[in-house]
């Protein structure tokens, strides 16, 4: 198989031109999930709210932290982690879910990856209602750093597009990979400073320094908590995102035309 970067870029350009293929269909996926329920997609916000309301007080008392400061930390961490975890898992099925369509038409394959990412960004959007509410409750002057948090979010979104191409292509060929990824993500959730704080560790750990998820969570969380933001966090997150995008593009460029045969 030869590396067809021009073909891959043309495929992505077509997806961007025909944005309805992922913008509308991504939104349709969300509607579809909550059809016939009265509250609809607001259930995303509600069930996440229930999780945070349950875990917040518990972990705050275990760690001996004040709820007012711990709750926003937990909420933002758990919501960003949820985005990372679900968009990664769903990327495994990006092409597989479109089997019928991909086998019969020539719609741009990249639109299937973008649809998965967009759908998860919409879920994140519903959850950010909670972030807003909790940050206001805690009285954090977060809005002054909002631009920085949005930059962190943009880096995260780009990273998940790159990772989406990598994972979707790889998981279509090797069907065991989805299970591997799910298992790894489960462990990673506890190894990442989502519930606990990096400074609670007795000494700086590899769990923090070598954990890519940490940089993405921190790039959104630190500004929203009104904490001093380390430029290094943003640089590392951007570097990982760039590497994922490059890797994703190359893998897609190499195997784009084979994907239909793996379905």
């Amino acid at each position: 198989m030869k590396l067809d970067v021009a073909g891959a870029v043309a495929d992505i350009a077509e997806s961007l031109r025909k944005s309805y293929l992922w913008v509308r269909l991504g939104w349709f996926d969300i509607q579809q999930r909550f059809r016939r329920s009265v509250l609809g997609p607001l259930w995303i916000t509600l069930s996440m709210g229930a999780l945070i309301a349950g875990m917040g007080p518990l972990y705050a008392s275990i760690f001996g932290l004040e709820l007012r400061t711990y709750l926003p930390y937990l909420a933002i961490g758990i919501i960003i982690w949820g985005y990372i975890s679900t968009s990664t898992t769903e990327a495994c099925n990006a092409f597989i879910a479109g089997t019928g369509v991909i086998r019969q038409t020539r719609l741009p394959l990249s639109s299937f990856v973008l649809r998965t990412v967009w759908r998860n960004l919409l879920v994140l959007g519903f959850n950010s209602i909670l972030i807003l509410a909790i940050v206001l409750y805690a009285g954090i002057p977060a809005l002054s750093h909002l631009a920085l948090a949005l930059l962190g979010l943009l880096i995260l979104a780009l990273a998940s597009v790159g990772a989406g191409f990598l994972i979707a292509t790889f998981c279509t060929r090797y069907r065991d990979m989805q299970q591997v990824i799910i298992s790894l993500l489960q462990v990673l959730m506890f190894l990442t400073p989502v519930f606990w704080r990096a400074d609670q560790l007795p000494k700086r750990s590899v769990l923090v320094d070598w954990n890519p998820a940490y940089y993405f969570i921190e790039a959104v969380r630190a500004p929203l908590l009104g904490m001093a933001v380390d430029a290094r966090i943003f640089l590392v997150a951007a570097a990982i995102a760039a590497a994922l995008c490059l890797g994703g593009l190359l893998l897609f460029a190499k195997y784009r035309l084979r994907i239909v045969y793996w379905l």
Binding site: K18, Y20, L21, R24, L25, F28, Q32, R35, R36, G100, V101, I102, R103, Q104, T105, R106, L107, R173, Y174, R175, D176, M177, L257, V260, Y261, W262
Partner: protein, 247 residues
């Protein structure tokens, strides 16, 4: 002008068992120096073998052959879904596939939503193609039912909707798997008329079928497929010859 050109096209379909798909087996076969390669190796089926074809406007092409002869694979190549493993494919012109009329439709979504879904699967922006919705509304005769989820439809109503949307676009190249016949008696006649009319506006038609008789009636070129190889038959039907002269 629509045009299709296939040069020496081969399609090898990999058949994956549970074994060859797992990375573990890849690793084992690498670690054991390939002794298990037979188990890990991917079986390839040659679905099309060195096909060379040229289709031009006015061509009404019938694909004829047994089950597994490669008719569907060839249609998928023409639709642009399968990239050839060997050889080259050039398709100029917008391809509309009527292979699966209900492709992309969702039972829980309403009739109107499904019009949009189906149009998107055909590569049309539903926002731009508003007039199609009105047209489908009129032709399908489903009226207020379009507000309801299509899971509530009878199978006849479902087919009417799928048919109405799928035939609402302006095709340059039309692909069909068997001649379409849908709905109750009244609708069959209506559908037949619409399909005939669609065909007069189509530059190239490719239709796969088991029915020799139908192909001879409708087509001016008949390609016989056998184990993935294509041979063109001499044109037999007088009608088809007439169509060939006039175009």
């Amino acid at each position: 002008m629509a045009r299709i050109e296939l040069k020496d096209v081969c399609i090898d379909l990999p058949v994956f068992g549970a074994h060859s798909r797992s990375l573990k087996n890849r690793l084992i076969s690498a670690a054991t120096g390939g002794r298990l390669a037979k188990e890990a190796g991917v079986t390839l089926v040659r679905a099309l073998s060195h096909v060379t074809l040229e289709l031009r406007p006015g061509d009404r092409v019938g694909l004829w052959g047994h089950n597994g002869a490669g008719k569907t694979t060839l249609l998928r190549v023409l639709a642009g879904a399968y990239a050839p493993t060997h050889g080259t494919v050039h398709v100029d012109g917008e391809v509309t596939s009527l292979i699966d009329l209900a492709l992309g439709m969702e039972p829980e979504a309403t009739g109107y939503e499904n019009i949009a879904l189906r149009l998107m699967m055909m590569g049309r922006n539903p926002q731009v193609a508003r007039h199609i919705t009105d047209e489908v509304e009129r032709f399908s005769g489903l009226g207020e039912f379009l507000e309801l989820p299509i899971r509530t439809y009878s199978s006849g109503m479902m087919m009417r909707l799928a048919f109405a949307i799928s035939t609402s676009v302006e095709p340059e190249i039309l692909l069909m798997d068997e001649w379409l016949s849908v709905g109750d008696q009244e609708f069959v006649a209506k559908a037949e008329g619409r399909l005939e009319e669609l065909l007069t506006r189509t530059q190239i038609l490719v239709i796969a079928s088991h029915s020799r008789e139908m192909l001879e009636r409708r087509c001016n070129r008949i390609l016989q497929l056998d184990h993935g190889t294509v041979t063109e038959e001499a044109r037999t039907s007088p009608d088809a010859q007439a169509a060939e002269v006039i175009p």
